[in-house]
């Protein structure tokens, strides 16, 4: 069997990669994808704990996290479209109306 620790460490690494993506990227769509990566890392943690605790709770929670991720992706992409209508750019640095 693969110990629980391995899964937890793997998801911590994926979470950190997602955080890096949000911090460094200047393309809104890639920032959104990095956030999805963070949520997936959290899902992996939940499933690993559910397996080790032998309870279904963690798996059901992942189901809800997917619903939340879907809602956030939809809203995020809608906002991207509405920003793009004004700016013709996906670079948040170019949003000069409000100081970043």
């Amino acid at each position: 069997m693969v110990p629980l620790d391995y899964y937890l460490i793997l998801s911590a690494i994926i979470f950190a990669i997602g955080v890096v993506g949000v911090l460094i990227r200047r393309n809104l769509i890639i920032v959104l994808m990095s956030i999805e990566l963070m949520l997936n890392a959290v899902n992996l943690t939940f499933i690993a704990f559910a397996n080790s605790l032998g309870s279904m709770d963690g798996q059901v929670i992942v189901f809800f996290v997917m619903a939340v991720a879907a809602a956030e992706a939809v809203i995020g992409l809608a906002i991207v479209i509405s920003v793009f209508r004004h700016r013709q750019s996906l670079d948040p640095q170019e949003m000069q109306l409000l100081k970043w």
Partner: protein
């Protein structure tokens, strides 16, 4: 499983109103849309009446994942009062700015539903879904002024920061779930009270990640940088809604989750919380002084107020929590009122937000200037206004809990804040020029909202005892 539906009543009432408004919007003519605002107000009033009738009840439902207690009802009252004021102050605004009315009101109501769930949640998952419902609705509200580029960009920034914070919050929930085996707060606190050897180390990290997530949501320094841009870009009535109701909802969940149920971990986050409180007050105030725009100044001042509220959290115990709830009640009318005054001064495509635009207001529009002065003095903490009693109890609780240094830093910060609040009043009464005629948002409802906020500011300052008593019984219902 027991499934009494009564605890769902306040939330369900607001949700039902939201659905009615959303569907009715499809069937009525353009010029009859004003009706939707009245339906929203009616629904909120019904919810308020229900909350008053249910006051004193203490009931859990769906396996104690949702509680109806005085704590939840106290916050429900704050949320619906702010939501009602938001609807009142945007009745004319939405039409003039081309925001879709039906969706606007129903999203305000959906966000309020999410907040009510957050304050009543006794399960981390229920809390999380309530938070997301609120957040998603408010992201959309921020970006709803479609013809304004600032509004879209503010929505983008708010969304990115919010989703980023969600990641941290959720990771915290995952680690707490792994350590304790449950997301239900009753079971988590039962686990924490069990005398047993070692807690797994990731329990603390989970708590810390939760703290980071909350820090983002309430805008505590160093997670505050999104606040000024988002508050400035959002349609002004929505800014008022965000600055008051969203912040109150985050603090409600914070109080229930971190202060009460996870209190065995208190000693571990006392230090980070102290640092957070001091940094938030001081940096919020220092940055507020240098702002050229009143709207941005208010954004930074709301950061500073989050810092004062954090003192209540650090102080903890009965006094800290009671004063936290009371402070939120006193902070609400003054902050919302100040944003409503800015709404009142809005001109088409020209945001009237600089200090210069307030020049001479005292002579041209005495009522507006008087109300704005009240709000500024209250936020600065002058007696006998609401802000004074709120601050008095917060600092007193800090001293009782033995955090005299925090109280002193808080008082010094309040003195510092007088500089920028008085600057608005000086502008209004001692300068000439500024706004010429009437703004394009002249509506009796907006004046009503400003008047109500001003009345509440005076009432809470002069006769605070009843609300203080409510805060205390709200807090004690947690036990």
């Amino acid at each position: 499983m027991d499934a009494s539906l009564i605890p769902l009543l306040p939330g369900a009432q607001v949700l039902l109103t939201a659905l009615v408004v959303m569907l009715l919007d499809l069937f009525i003519d353009e010029h009859e849309r004003g009706l939707l605002a009245w339906i929203s107000l009616l629904g909120l009033a019904l919810c308020g009446a229900e909350a008053i009738l249910l006051w004193g009840s203490s009931e859990g439902t769906f396996g104690d994942t949702l509680l109806l207690d005085n704590f939840a009802l106290f916050f429900t009252q704050i949320f619906i009062a702010v939501a009602a004021l938001t609807v009142l102050s945007s009745m004319r605004y939405v039409r003039e700015t081309g925001i879709h009315e039906g969706e606007f009101y129903s999203l305000i109501l959906f966000a309020t539903t999410g907040m009510i769930v957050m304050a009543a949640a006794n399960d981390l998952m229920v809390f999380f879904l309530g938070l997301e419902t609120m957040s998603v609705a408010v992201y959309v509200l921020t970006g709803m002024w479609r013809s304004s580029a600032r509004s879209s960009e503010a929505a983008m920034k708010y969304f990115l920061m919010g989703a980023f914070a969600t990641g941290f919050l959720l990771y915290g929930i995952a680690l707490i779930y792994g350590a304790t085996g449950s997301t239900n707060l009753n079971q988590i606190s039962a686990y924490l009270l069990e005398p047993q050897g070692q807690w797994p180390p990731y329990l603390f990290v989970g708590g810390l990640l939760l703290l980071v997530g909350f820090g983002f949501k309430v805008g505590a320094v160093p997670f505050h940088f999104w606040i000024p841009d988002v508050y400035e870009g959002a349609p002004t009535p929505v800014t008022g809604f965000m600055a008051v109701a969203v912040k109150a909802a985050a603090f409600a969940a914070w109080a229930r989750i971190l202060m009460h149920e996870l209190s065995p971990l208190d000693s571990d986050w006392a230090l980070p919380l102290r640092v957070l409180a001091i940094a938030t007050m001081t940096i919020g105030n220092l940055l507020a002084i240098s702002q050229p725009s009143v709207k941005r100044m208010l954004a930074y001042s709301s950061i500073a107020h989050a810092g004062y509220l954090l003192i209540g959290i650090v102080a903890g115990e009965e006094w800290g929590s009671t004063s936290l709830l009371f402070y939120l009640a006193t902070y609400a009318p003054a902050t919302f009122g100040a944003f409503a005054v800015i709404t009142l001064l809005t001109e088409q495509d020209k945001p009237k937000e600089d200090y210069g635009h307030f020049a001479g207001l005292g002579f041209k529009r005495p009522f507006v200037a008087m109300a704005m002065s009240l709000f500024m003095l209250s936020l600065a903490g002058f007696p006998p206004l609401a802000g004074f009693t709120g601050k008095f109890h917060i600092f007193r609780s800090a001293i009782i809990a033995g955090h005299t240094d925090l109280a002193i830093i808080g008082v010094l910060n309040s003195l510092l804040s007088v500089i920028y609040y008085l600057r608005v009043i000086v502008m209004m009464y001692m300068n000439e020029g500024g706004v010429k005629g009437k703004s394009f948002i002249e509506s009796p409802y907006l004046y009503t909202a400003v008047g109500l906020a001003a009345a509440a500011t005076i009432y809470l300052g002069v006769l605070p005892m009843r609300t203080l008593e409510w805060s205390r019984s709200a807090f004690s219902s947690l036990f």
